[in-house]
């Protein structure tokens, strides 16, 4: 692993995208940046521009209106890029699974690196998920096949 990859995992800047969520997961994401959880310890920062982002945090059941926009946002992210699905809706569409408005789960639209379940997931769970992502990228071979 080169020094640039090492630096990449040390300073993940996250961009937060809500694709039709109920705002609960979004509140829990913002909790990660509060004094109690302080995710800046791991070098993570919330960015306002997708061009600066390394990690895309997606919440919500991806609805028809959001799919083209989600793709455009994903394509605007500079490589290397990671995607984290947060909350039950982003994982499996949650209660909207039979809805006419949510035809596809998130990972059928864009590739997803980490799934964080919960409705909403606790901030600790989000941090644990992100740290697992870093560990997995550090030693890709050590992880058991899920």
């Amino acid at each position: 692993m080169g020094i640039l990859d090492h630096a990449f995992l040390k300073s993940l800047w996250v961009f937060h995208l809500a694709t039709g969520s109920c705002n609960n997961c979004d509140i829990e994401i913002l909790d990660c940046f509060t004094p109690r959880h302080d995710i800046e310890r791991f070098g993570m920062q919330l960015t306002g521009s997708i061009k600066h982002a390394d990690v895309l945090l997606v919440t919500g059941a991806v609805n028809r209106q959001c799919i083209p926009r989600l793709k455009r946002i994903y394509e605007q992210m500079p490589n290397p890029r990671l995607v984290v699905a947060i909350g039950e809706c982003a994982l499996s569409r949650g209660v909207f699974v039979h809805s006419y408005n949510c035809p596809l789960p998130l990972d059928h639209v864009i590739p997803v690196d980490v799934y964080i379940p919960g409705c909403p997931p606790r901030p600790e769970a989000i941090i644990a998920g992100l740290i697992k992502l870093i560990e997995q990228k550090k030693n890709p071979k050590d992880q058991p096949q899920a």
């Binding site: 020094i3 640039l4 990859d5 630096a7 990449f8 040390k10 300073s11 004094p35 302080d38 800046e40 310890r41 070098g43 960015t47 306002g48 521009s49 061009k51 600066h52 390394d54 605007q76 500079p78 490589n79 290397p80």
Partner: protein, 307 residues
């Protein structure tokens, strides 16, 4: 050859190291003020390295040459200005006449580069931020030049950094006189605005226009802008130390004094940025052209009276 050495070792390497350390101090102090733990020591370096390894995107609507050249010109101008500051600090007698004016001009170029890059990126939010940045430049330049004029008057109307340093070595530092103290106050506020930090961060308000001027920059270009910001965080307080606080000399207790003055200025800037809300650009203009220009004018008159 000697100047090339100064440019690379002092102007670039040392300035970048101290600037990155200062931006760590800034972030760590911010975190401590908010009862957080804060990032590790090498965090600013990791950020720059990571951005160097990322893909650099150029938007379709952008004008390529200004978009690509702006970060480079800004970085080089900060390198040159910090080289000049180092040389005038280490060898006060070898500086050329009028270097104060050159330094003031060169300190303006990074802001202009941000404006040019933002307009060239073709993003509406970026051009909104760029127009705010222009208004910001217009507002802080007048009191900043008046504040520097105080030091020039106190050094018997000499526009050489070396003479300003020599005057302070003889008569004590400028900041302890009434006029010098007022001028330092004004200059610190102008530094805050030059660094585009809260309360004067309207050009790149993250929550409002999502990084405004830097919104379309990514990868290496953004890394250059970040490094330029970090180096400015060294160059601007260093300029204030040379002009008002007698410079940093290399031996014993004097070095400790210089380091303390620098860290104190950075901490002051950080505390100001953490205890204030963002001002609207009109309020910034009123603040600088009203109270700050008034204070600077009083300082100039006091300095003229003493001289």
């Amino acid at each position: 050859m000697l100047y090339l050495l100064y440019l690379l070792i002092f102007g670039f390497l040392l300035t970048a190291v101290i600037g990155l350390f200062a931006s760590w101090i800034d972030r760590k102090l911010t975190a401590r003020i908010q009862y957080r733990v804060g990032p590790p020591l090498l965090q600013p370096l990791y950020d720059i390295l990571k951005l160097l390894g990322k893909e650099t995107l150029i938007p379709i609507g952008a004008t390529n040459l200004p978009f690509l050249a702006a970060p480079l010109i800004g970085l080089v101008s900060v390198m040159i200005v910090s080289t000049m500051l180092w040389v005038s600090n280490l060898h006060p007698q070898q500086t050329f006449l009028g270097d104060v004016i050159v330094v003031i001009y060169l300190l303006l170029i990074p802001s202009l580069c941000i404006v040019i890059g933002a307009f060239a990126s073709g993003n509406p939010l970026a051009s909104l931020g760029a127009s705010r940045e222009i208004k910001l430049i217009l507002s802080y330049e007048l009191p900043f030049i008046l504040a520097v004029l105080v030091a020039i008057i106190q050094a018997d109307f000499s526009i050489r950094l070396g003479d300003i340093l020599a005057t302070q070595a003889q008569n004590g530092i400028i900041a302890v006189s009434w006029s010098g103290g007022l001028a330092l106050l004004v200059a610190v506020m102008c530094t805050q605005a030059k660094l585009a930090l809260v309360p004067f961060d309207a050009p790149e308000a993250e929550t409002e226009i999502s990084h405004g001027v830097l919104i379309e920059y990514s990868g290496t270009l953004l890394a250059m802008f970040q490094l330029m910001r970090s180096m400015l965080l060294f160059a601007l307080p260093f300029f204030l130390i040379i002009v008002y606080l007698g410079g940093i000399s290399g031996n014993g207790i004097q070095l400790v004094y210089g380091a303390l003055a620098y860290v104190g200025l950075v901490a002051l800037i950080t505390v100001i940025r953490n205890t204030n809300p963002r001002l609207k650009i009109g309020q910034v203009l009123r603040f600088f052209w009203g109270p700050m220009t008034f204070l600077a004018l009083i300082a100039v008159l006091l300095a003229l009276g003493n001289n």
